[in-house]
């Protein structure tokens, strides 16, 4: 299949930005792991909301406020259902990072202390690493790492060994690595964590846009993701948590909207999910994300996964066939998402990205917010190509041609 030219899916026409040309050439957008482009449906939903139904949500009695509240809470319900969740346990945040900070702060401060450990992996994005570092520093807990092997995978045996030490309170790990592309066995890890009495916290920022996700099936206690990588707007993240844990947890940020009663010296908190949504909500952003998940749902996540697997396989084959190119991460596509980091002998990723840009091939060069992993891989940076629903086989071929041309410029 990898050599077949016809794509499973061609939805480029749904994405207005992809009709733009730069210097007379089309844009080959291969940076969806950093942020995805937006379909017309998302832009329309947000524009329509601002133009026809905009007001603040909740408590307003007038028609606009009722419409805005219905649109906002309706989006929450559809976003929750998209990943098998419930509206009540689906919390809107500013982004994925804030969702993970919410768990580390609100749950961590009451449940992790001196002598306890937090277990993360070496492949974590800084968003699911730094909040735990901060928590561990604050409470005197230990931060330990599951190692990444040469194929970009973590070991369940090491997980068992770590959990057997009896001090692990949290296992925080990424669903799909934004550097290696590795798809971690979330259900196995979450089940082992639970059996050992540890909380499982999953960074699903790359998972939700690429894979069918059913959070109850995965069994994670917390699952966090961000809207803008899932074809939605920037400014909205999502945290799903188990009802019994969220009910027990105190709030993180205080302010309007998260209270049921405020007295001079103390307050009472409102119910889920609003207990964790202080201040005016991310209204238009949530509505935009609602349209994004509708769009993804209509395409079908199984189909999307098959499409990205095909593109990934084509790119892996093509890149490995070029002399001097090394790809990191799992060798096959079975446990790999649509993310490919690679190095070219004798060329720095920054130069690679600069040269690819001349062909309007948009890739990312750098540490990808995973400096711990970069050091483990023994590199300062990599070049990364990542796919979205709108990519086609022709984009992969443009990448391969451009990489070959870049090598010619550097005579490597």
């Amino acid at each position: 299949m990898a050599t077949q030219a016809s794509p499973v899916l061609d939805v480029r026409a749904d994405f207005p930005i992809l009709s733009r040309e730069i210097d007379g050439k089309r844009i080959v957008y291969l940076d969806s792991a950093a942020s995805a482009q937006k379909p017309e449906a998302v832009l329309d939903a947000m524009d329509r909301f601002y133009r026809t139904s905009y007001s603040n949500v909740h408590r307003g009695v007038y028609t606009l406020a009722q419409e805005a509240t219905e649109l906002f809470e309706g989006a929450r319900a559809r976003i929750a259902a998209f990943v098998g969740g419930e509206a009540q346990t689906t919390i809107f945040t500013r982004n994925g990072t804030e969702a993970l900070n919410l768990v580390a702060r609100a749950w961590g401060k009451d449940n992790v202390g001196r002598g306890d450990a937090v277990l993360v992996t070496e492949m974590e994005h800084h968003s699911n690493l730094v909040p735990w570092q901060m928590l561990c520093h604050d409470v005197g807990a230990q931060l330990r790492y599951l190692e990444v092997d040469d194929d970009g995978r973590i070991s369940l045996d090491q997980l068992d060994d770590e959990l057997a030490r009896g001090d692990v309170k949290v296992v925080a790990f990424v669903h799909v690595s934004n550097v290696l592309g590795t798809i971690n066995p979330v259900a196995e890890i979450a089940a082992r964590a639970r059996a050992a009495g540890a909380l499982s916290v999953v960074d699903g920022c790359q998972g939700v846009p690429q894979l069918p996700v059913d959070i109850p099936l995965l069994g994670a206690d917390f699952y966090a993701w961000t809207g803008h990588k899932a074809l939605g707007p920037t400014g909205v993240g999502v945290l799903h948590g188990r009802a019994e844990i969220l009910t027990e947890m105190g709030p993180w940020l205080g302010g309007g909207h998260m209270i049921s009663r405020v007295d001079r010296d103390s307050s009472e908190w409102t119910e889920l999910p609003w207990k964790f949504e202080a201040g005016t909500d991310v209204i238009a952003e949530a509505i935009g994300l609602g349209a994004a998940v509708d769009y993804l749902d209509a395409l079908g996540m199984e189909r999307l996964r098959a499409h990205e697997r095909e593109l990934t396989a084509r790119a892996l084959d093509g890149l490995r066939a070029i002399d001097g190119v090394t790809v990191v991460g799992p060798p096959g596509v079975e446990d790999r998402g649509g993310v490919i980091s690679f190095a070219i002998d004798g060329m720095h990723p920054h130069d690679v990205a600069d040269l690819l840009n001349r062909d309007n091939v948009c890739v990312r060069a750098g540490h990808h917010c995973a400096q711990v992993l970069m050091r483990k891989l023994g590199v300062a940076a990599t070049s990364r190509a990542s796919f979205g629903p709108y990519n086609v086989a022709e984009d992969v071929d443009a990448l391969l041609d451009s990489v070959a041309r870049a090598r010619e410029v550097f005579r490597v």
């Binding site: 720095h348 920054h350 130069d351 300062a380 940076a381 410029v409 550097f410 005579r411």
Partner: protein, 129 residues
């Protein structure tokens, strides 16, 4: 020939001058470009207020490495005060290639590190430079 990656830029990148460590040295500094993860350090020998020898080390893109190599040949022999007064335009002119806004930090990294070694001030260049 490529406008940015000219022959002499690639030559300096592949075979950088004055690259490595220098022991003993009188001054040293280390800095990095958090955007792309490039790292650069410098060891400097000073006599009578002048740079008599120096070595850059670290890893980075062709622009940052070639810039350090090309500039190193100018720095040797310069009075410290003169180096501390050099600005970004001097270095960009010296390189002789079109440096876009996104590559400016790469090109200026060596001067940033060297100025830091001399003045102890790592804040140069200002965000608007």
């Amino acid at each position: 020939m490529d406008d940015l990656y000219r022959d002499y830029i690639l030559e300096h990148y592949k075979r950088p001058r004055n690259f490595g460590e220098l022991e003993p040295h009188d001054l040293e500094a280390h800095d990095h470009n958090p955007l792309c993860g490039d790292e650069m350090g410098v060891h400097v020998r000073v006599e009578d207020g002048k740079i008599t020898d120096l070595r850059f080390h670290g890893q980075g893109c062709a622009i940052s490495q070639a810039s350090a190599s090309i500039a190193s040949e100018e720095y040797i022999g310069m009075p410290l005060g003169e180096v501390a007064d050099l600005d970004g335009e001097w270095l960009i002119d010296l390189l002789g290639i079109p440096i876009s806004a996104t590559r400016r930090k790469c090109a200026l990294l060596n001067l940033k590190v060297l100025r830091g070694a001399i003045t102890g001030d790592a804040s140069w260049p200002p965000a608007t430079d």
